[in-house]
Amino acid sequence: MQADLEWLDDPEVFRVNQLPAHSDHAFYQTNAEITQTSSYVQSLNGIWQFSFAKTPAERPLNFYDPNFDASAFESITVPGHIELAGYGQIQYINTLYPWEGQVFRRPPYTLNADQLVSGLFSDAIDNTVGSYLKTFELTPAFQGKRTIIQFQGVEEALYVWLNGHFVGYAEDSFTPSEFDLTPFITTGKNTLAVRVYKRSTAAFIEDQDMFRFSGIFRDVNLLALPAVHIADLDLRPTVTTDWHTGNLAVTTKLSCAATTTTATLQLTVTDPAGTVIAQQTQPRANTVTFDPITVTDVQLWGPATPNLYQVTLTVLTANQHIMEVVPYQFGFRKVELRADKVIYVNNQRLIINGVNRHEWNAKTGRVLSIADMQADIQTMLANHINADRTCHYPDQLPWYTLCDQAGIYLMAENNLESHGSWQKLGAIEPSYNVPGDNPHWLAAVVDRARTNYELFKNHPAVIFWSLGNESYAGSDIAAMNRFYKTHDTSRLVHYEGVVHTPDLKDQISDVESRMYESPKNIAAYLDNDPQKPFIDCEYMHDMGNSLGGMQAYNDLIDRYPMYQGGFIWDFIDQALLVHDPISGHDVLRYGGDFDDRHSDYEFSGDGLLFADRTPKPAMQEVNYYYGLHN
């Protein structure tokens, strides 16, 4: 198969040869590795060769050919943003598309045009291209094993070649893309070639309010798969209504190098103290379902008590040698929307003391370290923040585990935001809205829902799936809702944008969710025969010196059981640390400071933390009010 540049123009091509999405479990060669680095993982992070082109027409054509002369290439650090490495121009823009006033562009298959637009992105003047080369040799643990490459995040469209062979294509910038390298890999030097386009049709549905970057911005790993490998793990812990008994259903999907390989799969379950409470063994099969496990005197998971049990799955050869070990921490908790139209978690009314959190670091943009994430968790815990809405894309994988461990509820958002297609100068104008009811955009958004679900389905912290943000509403988003409803009964579905299309309210979202609604209007909703509990998915816009008047929202909690709190917008200012030659200081810069136009200037400076992670003075108010209902 050959790569086709025009995939950039086609909303129906968004994954080519990509492996199916699966649970985010780690896997190890031995038990001893569990607390360390898996020898089945080989990081490709570091310095890569790099060539930047302002347009697709200027890209180096056969750079993936092993005989290509790359001596003119420069170097770049992976993970990182191409813009912060000094190539493309940094731009911050909120609602409007980043090409506003530069390129006239409409999404394919809209405005009654039942066709693609040739060259929409593949022959564009504003589609920068990064051509990356990385040579590597497999570490010994990888020899003879199936080899997968995993890109954890690439903005925004990715083509991959290995040793001259086309491997695959992916969109969906904020979820992992995995490809099987086994057919093309050699035992000696391998040449990996990656092309990253800043824009594709995904740009229409990745219009998040943030700095616009491109490039390989999350980890890149090679994964070695043993002959029999746990490809997917599905943990379904439930709690009986006596609140003392837990039940666990465990299903795994295995992938195998050969159908004849014999192996057994051993399951061990331990309680939060580490005591073994169940063990089972099953023969290898494509799908292995273990017998249901009952847990007496179950210790529930919640913000005050983030009790985590652990399953450990061990794949054993016929000779009882370990091929693979998969540990996974999980929790028992029950999320219910009861007949009284109130959400309960573990038999208690849910009160969300939440924040929206963009991934941000003032020096590295959306390239975050574990230390950044741990610091954010500590800030949340120190201020009674019990919930995070990942806005508006799936976060780095470790974040979900950190929230499990800390007892932070998650509203796990899809990578979807299309406000440029329907929100114009503050008014609603959906004449070319996507995804809308558009059949050509349906598969892309349902795939995003599936990926988000498959990745994070085992995390107790996730109590809501969120269909995305500010993408209006139509039958495509209703289909995303249906996906979650048919796959997951243990969580609720959130979507705010259906507020604009009330006819779809019985098909989309379990909650009445609004943003920046006044306390008076919330009370009016709750006084007028409300059909769904109310959540502020975004409220208390903490831009600059703000966050006055939290009392009025706090009063709603005490007055209305169906008012279930909200998520402050937002956690951290998005601004970039830049050296100022005039003062000689490193200073924080925002939109428009890079000569970027159109820009929304300082509008992303709306965090409870300054961009350098120091708390704003308003945090003491959050600490106080959130502490009243924690």
Binding site: G426, Y516, S518, Y539, M540, H541, D542, M543, G544, N545, S546, L547, G548, G549, M550, Q551, A552, D573, A575, D580, I582, S583, H585, V587, L588, R589, Y590, D593, E602, F603, G605, D606, F610, A611, K616, P617, A618, Q620, E621, V622, N623, Y624, Y625
Partner: protein, 321 residues
């Protein structure tokens, strides 16, 4: 002469009224329209005469709901409101005219009084205008009771703030206050613990776009400490301090190296001038910061400052012995 009787020494100048005691000397300037010199233990505390202040720098919420545009007159008033009248009272007796030559030719250098009061009337540079009076009442120990009265006019827009701004010649090394922790506003003070706090230096909260900051609500007293003067004959770097205390009610204050106008004009922190003075503003009324959104939602009505009604506040300046 001795000061053991708690009598103030009053110096009837032609351009200013001097009031002094054992360790203080104040000058009330008829020309400059206010307290021109506040000298305590030989250290000068004022750079320019205190002025009524009507502006706090625009916050993002103010910008979003166009408050600053609607209330822009108060920015002009903040900068350009003249002092139109000066009245002097000695021991409770209002003098019919300013005591300058030839009226003061009858005095010596030995006049005393138990209490001296001066009222400076400012005429706000707004349409229509409304008077604001600042009354300084000095008693024998040197304590100054400062009273601010805003008359108000229903035809005027809401105020961002009402206060008295005192600019000190050099930067403070820090300040100590008894009041609420952190940066508080009328609609953002529930989470603040009451106590006594020390602040090092003159921190400006580094909002991405500089804006009003550093407000401290419900304050009983604030003590500003400096360690340098502009007096060429005084090169000592010894700390010296001055305390501003609640009179009838707690007050709000901010203590920053910048005026509201300087904050207003900067688009980034690094565009602010080099800190060289201390701007202490004592507020009788502060507008809330709001927070529902930053693109139109107003601050809750109870945290507005309508211009239709009178506002009064007072505090004491006390030289410590």
């Amino acid at each position: 002469m001795g000061y053991t009787t708690n009598q103030l020494h009053v110096i009837y100048g032609d351009g200013a009224l001097g009031v002094s005691g054992a360790d203080f000397h104040y000058l009330f300037s008829y020309e400059r329209g206010g307290l021109e010199s506040l000298q305590i233990h030989g250290k000068e505390w004022l750079y320019r005469t205190p002025k009524p202040t009507f502006w706090r720098a625009t916050t993002d919420n103010d910008r979003g709901n166009h408050f600053s545009e609607k209330s822009a007159q108060w920015l002009a008033a903040n900068q350009f409101s003249p002092c139109t009248q000066v009245a002097v009272s000695i021991d409770g007796q209002l003098l019919p005219e300013l005591p300058i030559a030839p009226l003061n030719n009858r005095y010596t250098n030995n006049e005393t009084a138990a209490e001296v009061a001066l009222t400076f009337t400012f005429s706000t540079n707004t349409v229509p205008s409304t008077p604001v009076t600042i009354t300084y009442t000095v008693t024998g120990t040197g304590k100054i009771h400062v009273q601010v009265h805003f008359t108000g006019n229903a035809a005027l827009p809401d105020l961002p703030a009402l206060g008295l701004r005192l600019i000190m010649p050099t930067t403070a090394t820090g300040f100590d206050y008894t009041g609420l922790a952190g940066e508080t506003y009328p609609d953002r003070q529930a989470g603040a613990a009451h106590g006594t706090y020390h602040i090092d230096g003159l921190p400006v909260t580094p909002y991405l776009v500089p804006q009003d900051c550093g407000m401290h609500m419900a304050t009983q007293q604030v003590t500003v400490t400096r360690d340098q003067t502009q007096n060429n004959a005084d090169q000592a770097r010894m700390p010296f301090a001055l305390t501003f205390e609640q009179a009838t009610h707690p007050f709000a204050f901010s203590c920053l190296p910048y005026t509201a106008e300087e904050l207003e004009n900067a688009t980034h922190m690094e565009e602010l001038p080099l800190p060289r003075r201390t701007v202490l503003t004592i507020y009788g009324a502060v507008r809330g910061v709001g927070g529902i959104d930053s693109w139109g939602a107003d601050v809750d009505a109870q945290y507005h400052i309508p211009a239709s009604q009178a506002i009064d506040f007072d505090f004491n300046i006390s030289p410590k012995h």
